[in-house]
Symmetry: C2
Subunit: 284 residues, 2 copies
Amino acid sequence: MSETISEAVPGNTLSEFDRDTAVRQREPGVHDVRLSPGWAIGHALNGGYLLATAGRALGETLAHPDPFTVTAHYLSATTPGPAVIRSETARAGRTLSTGTAGLFQTGADGQETERLRVLASYGDLDTLTDDIRTSAKPPAMPPLDQCFSARDNPAGPDAAPEMGKRLDLRLDPATCGWAVGAPSGRGEMRAWFGLADGRDADPFSLLMAVDALPPTAFELGLSGWVPTVELTVHVRARPAPGPLRVSVSTVNLAGGFLEEDVEIWDSADRLVTQSRQLARAKAN
Amino acid sequence: MSETISEAVPGNTLSEFDRDTAVRQREPGVHDVRLSPGWAIGHALNGGYLLATAGRALGETLAHPDPFTVTAHYLSATTPGPAVIRSETARAGRTLSTGTAGLFQTGADGQETERLRVLASYGDLDTLTDDIRTSAKPPAMPPLDQCFSARDNPAGPDAAPEMGKRLDLRLDPATCGWAVGAPSGRGEMRAWFGLADGRDADPFSLLMAVDALPPTAFELGLSGWVPTVELTVHVRARPAPGPLRVSVSTVNLAGGFLEEDVEIWDSADRLVTQSRQLARAKAN
């Protein structure tokens, strides 16, 4: 296990994340994107990756640059390949702009199907006051070099989802019981988080990072797919360079649904993101 | 202070909440509503009341009856009087339907202005499995008869906002320091919650209840207006009859924004709702 989570991206090489979330404006409010199979978990593309991509398109449409609060509803499974994102402004204010985006794919029958719908307000993180009164504490977890990477997976380094190769994820051993058939029974998942090619975090990669850890359901003893119904992300500060700590918790697994609450802390001990998703828990 | 939070609504009388959130379909996807001044806080109508009203209209448009996860972005201040809600389906699935709604008012100049935009997924709460594994605990708070109602307000019973007359709200004394100039410094607010006319809770009144308590900012020592930017509500179960317990917490007052996290517990000790809002905290 290497000692550092990130290595510098050489020269002007575009990072994997920037390359795979790049959107190309066809006309105002219409962006083309080629979704990469590199962010798949099983057969489906990761919801955080899709949100980051749609978020970049919406950021080009809105008058403000940074996602402040972003909600996505996932409508159907997204496949790698071309997609189009249609976005529009609902209101352009002085401090915040609000708008919507829809990501569509065209099937073999020529029919467009919507994959996710986004409603979001954007602002400018650089204009926030420096009055910070946070009573939350960073998650208690071991140093990075005592956490588990995909290379430590008892099922072998290739057992991780394809998306795992894009990330430098180091799981807190206290939340890894599921990987050896001994889930803790607590709805908790924690990890050090970076991108594998060393790209530092920004507001758009945070939209992906909130959905990048194994589901808390695994530690609750469920093993099936946990599809996201809805995901809301609050980006509260521009993250400092360096590894992030991501802490996920679930308290209410009930009626076939559960919530995942996420906090992301940066290397300067700032709570940079809070998110919550509602997901379906398929019974074993 | 009466011993019970609710008295029966006599006969067939429509409750205040049902009357004031009633929507009338003009054509499919277009509903008229008359917003009541009875739900004002200062000059603005309460965001939860508006969400409940838009939620009812969207529920008539979608194929499923109950709000499961509902997000609203508040675009401009809403005034009492007529409004129109335009809603549409994004996807109708077997278990969930997803759609959007916008609430508009027409100004003196004849121009329509959007007040809030909603994105939501609805389902049928009666179809949920009865597998309940909740590790959260109901809030620790005194019995209802030891909590404070508007009648106990040291500034007089009429000092409460107009909306307070619609509610039977009993605040936990531990979170009432702000009312006597001695805020606790903790971002917490708790109350027993009912409707003043005794109407029991349902999924739509929960959409209002999550935004009905005084802001946690008051207990953090701020006294100004705390306008909601975005509010997301997960309704996780149909509430049992009887008083609700509403617990609100804030951990991240930073950069001029704060989150309010809400849990609502019903009389059967079921966690029926989780919500989070992002709000602006105006400096004193």
